[in-house]
């Protein structure tokens, strides 16, 4: 098996290069069709995410997989860019390295945020598109199915995915759940309509949030966000009233000073009657005056508090990295042993068949020459020939089975050449 991966990722490529090589889902299918037109003897999978674009190519026969420069030329041509512009930022891994790389990518060990769950579904999607284009891609099947299994194993056996590491996911997925049993019956108030507010709102909706009001100085931005998530737009002048009824507040305005000070919150508290409130102040500078966090039944978390939690979770994920790496090494060994077993299996069968044919020819010739041989004698002679063939074949076959995949790979090739066996 010949497998290689070439591509770019956040590790060694600039954003500009990644943008140039990024493929949308609609662009992948034509690219794969063009690839098979040019390189019909190999198989290909194209994985394109925000942080990486990778081309996995595989073939049974040596030299059937296009080389790095050949593939870069082809990709550049497809993308309408100069190969020299991207050449220096493209990596290549072959055979075992390529398999280990794919296992790491699928398990999100190679991701920008280690342990993020999205990458596995992206790998599955890339695999699905590749199979739709070429249904007989046996090598791709084998390696990608192994990668998906490895990713699941790492997810089950390590805690690399358990702790959330982004601010919005920690805020909603971890902290809000410790305060509220459910979000579908909670009133969510969003102050600001920027990226952070949107991202946090997205998580709140994922966790079941339904009733949310967006308040922003620029009513147009608030309307856009509200339209996107089917929410309600509130009036900035009614901030006190909205705060008085809210259960969860996500605040991420661009204000230069606190928008909710102690006096304002005093008035809000009078109406709230100490009803618990969870405030996520994700703005810098802060939107809520710090002293508000001292009030009874007020749980106020700032960006700093959340980032500390994220950092702790990141470290926790990193601590599981060696265990995950060990699983990848072990699975790569198993994968290549299996490949070797399958590959040597056909060679061994061929060798045995060839030896059997030679034996049978010689046996027939001998029997024709001999006269007056009884059936018992014929049987003795046949058994003797069989033993002879087995004794000759036993040492090389045993070596093939017991040696490491790297050594046995060489032996297999030697065997094929020495005995003139086909692929």
């Amino acid at each position: 098996m010949n497998l290689q991966v070439i591509g770019c990722s956040h590790h060694q490529s600039s954003v500009a290069t990644r943008e140039q090589l990024a493929f949308t889902e609609q662009q992948i299918k034509p690219f794969l069709d063009n690839y098979y037109s040019k390189f019909p003897n190999s198989e290909v999978v194209l994985l394109s995410t925000c942080n990486r674009t990778e081309f996995y190519t595989a073939a049974n026969k040596p030299n059937s997989v296009p080389g790095k420069s050949e593939l870069i030329e082809f990709i550049a041509e497809q993308r309408g860019i100069a190969a020299t512009d991207i050449n220096s930022e493209i990596f290549i891994h072959q055979d075992r390295q390529a398999v280990e790389h794919l296992f790491s990518v699928a398990s999100s060990l190679d991701s920008m945020v280690v342990g993020e769950a999205q990458i596995l579904s992206q790998v599955k999607q890339a695999y699905k598109l590749a199979v739709e284009t070429n249904q007989t891609a046996a090598l791709i099947h084998r390696v990608f199915q192994s990668a998906i299994r490895v990713a699941r194993r790492i997810s089950n056996e390590t805690e690399i995915h358990t702790n959330r590491v982004s601010v919005p996911s920690v805020a909603i997925g971890v902290l809000a759940k410790q305060i509220f049993e459910r979000l579908d019956n909670k009133k969510i108030l969003i102050l600001g309509a920027g990226e952070m507010a949107e991202e946090t709102l997205r998580y709140a909706i994922q966790e079941g949030g339904k009733d949310f009001t967006i308040i922003n100085r620029s009513i147009e931005n608030a309307k856009q966000l509200a339209m996107k998530f089917d929410g309600r737009v509130g009036d900035w002048d009614e901030l006190e009233k909205e705060l008085a009824t809210a259960d969860l507040v996500i605040s991420a305005t661009g204000a230069t000073k606190a928008v909710v000070n102690s006096d304002l919150f005093d008035r809000v508290e009078e109406i709230r009657k100490q009803k618990p409130i969870f405030i996520l102040d994700l703005a810098v500078p802060r939107d809520f005056e710090h002293s508000i966090s001292d009030r009874l039944n007020v749980y106020l978390y700032t960006l700093d508090d959340l980032q500390k939690e994220c950092e702790r979770n990141r470290q926790s994920r990193q601590s599981h990295y060696p265990k995950a790496q060990k699983i990848i090494n072990h699975e790569a060994d198993l994968f290549f042993n299996e490949i070797q077993r399958r590959s040597s299996g056909s060679t061994i069968a061929q060798l045995k068949r060839q030896a059997d044919n030679a034996k049978q020819l010689e046996l027939d010739r001998l029997m024709n020459r001999l006269e007056g041989v009884s059936e018992k004698q014929k049987s003795e002679i046949e058994q003797s020939f069989n033993r002879l063939v087995n004794k000759i074949l036993h040492p090389p076959l045993k070596s093939l089975q017991t040696e490491s995949p790297q050594v046995s790979g060489g032996l297999l090739e030697a065997l094929k050449k020495l005995f003139q066996l086909g692929d």
Binding site: E159, T162, N163, V174, L175, K177, Q178, I179, F180, E181, R182, K273, Q274, K275, P276, S293, L296, N297, Y299, Y301, D305, K308, E309, R312
Partner: protein
């Protein structure tokens, strides 16, 4: 089925102790099958506990005494309700370590029961009346629910304090959400008030009936001076006031205040039980009063007869 007769307190107490050890181990490390072992031990303990209460506790009416008739039975029955609640909470909140707070209470009640001994506090004949049954069960359930509310309240305070101080949540020490704890505390407050009201009213009815049936002249009266009666009255009044107050005054049913109220209710209950233990049960006490009055009355008659005889 003779083996059921051999089930002792050690059997279920040991099961609960194992559950507690498993709860503690959750703080330190993860084992995937532990939850099954934990709930399995709790269920086994509950089964043994049930068998013990039925066979050893003489639950069946018409036997020599009723299991609720002693502190021993009272404590064991309360522990049984809490153990049942533990299994229910384990199913509802499988990731939380609320058992760390609940199991010690169960073990403590079993220990307390054993410490008090099996001597009956209540008259076995009284125990067979329907009013006594209602009185006993209502107070028992009320007691257990107040104790459960206490656990919810304590856990609420711990969780709230942790969130307020922004301490990170350990993946090994998870507690239920504040909302769940608050609701559970509220329910326990309302239900226990209702049950203790039934217990108190039925207790008064028993007292009234006993006295009207007794040798006291002047019909039935309630021994309000009896510490058990007035302390029960105060406990019930407290719970009733708390419930009305919570209903009318919104801040008192918000967050940490509910937790403080249920904790205070539990402390009231402990005080009440201490008074009951100290002076003996009200009905038992009133019986002895009746007997004393009868004795005094008969002695008085004898005295009058004697005086009359001497005059003659």
């Amino acid at each position: 089925m003779n083996w059921l007769q051999n089930i002792s307190i050690t059997c279920f107490a040991a099961s609960y102790a194992v559950v507690f050890a498993l709860e503690i181990s959750r703080i330190f490390f993860d084992v995937s099958f532990r939850k099954y072992v934990r709930v399995g031990f709790a269920a086994a303990g509950l089964f043994a506990h049930s068998v013990f209460l039925v066979l050893q506790g003489k639950l069946v009416l018409g036997s020599n005494g009723l299991w609720l008739g002693s502190w021993f039975g009272w404590c064991l029955a309360t522990a049984w309700i809490l153990a049942f609640a533990y299994i229910w909470i384990s199913a509802r909140q499988p990731k939380s370590v609320i058992g760390l707070f609940l199991i010690p209470l169960i073990l403590g009640l079993i220990g307390l029961g054993v410490g008090f001994g099996t001597e009956n506090q209540f008259n076995s004949i009284e125990a067979k009346s329907i009013w006594n049954m209602v009185h006993g069960f209502a107070l028992l359930l009320g007691t257990a629910i107040v104790a459960l509310g206490f656990v919810f309240g304590v856990v609420y305070v711990v969780q709230s304090r942790r969130l307020k101080h922004k301490s990170p949540q350990s993946k090994h020490f998870r507690l239920p959400s504040l909302e769940w704890l608050q609701k559970s505390s509220e329910y326990s407050l309302v239900i226990s008030t209702f049950l203790l009201a039934i217990g108190l009213i039925s207790g008064i009815a028993i007292n009234w009936t006993n006295q009207t049936d007794g040798a006291l002249s002047g019909g039935g009266t309630i021994a309000w001076s009896n510490p058990v009666i007035w302390s029960s009255g105060i406990l019930f009044s407290w719970l009733l006031l708390v419930s009305i107050f919570s209903f009318c005054y919104q801040p008192s049913r918000q967050g940490r205040k509910v937790a403080y109220l249920v904790i205070a209710s539990f402390l009231f209950l402990v005080l009440e039980l201490a008074i009951v233990w100290w002076v003996g049960h009200a009905t038992a006490s009133s019986k002895s009063e009746v007997a004393l009055h009868s004795k005094i009355s008969s002695m008085s008659k004898e005295f009058h007869n004697e005086v009359g005889r001497l005059k003659i």
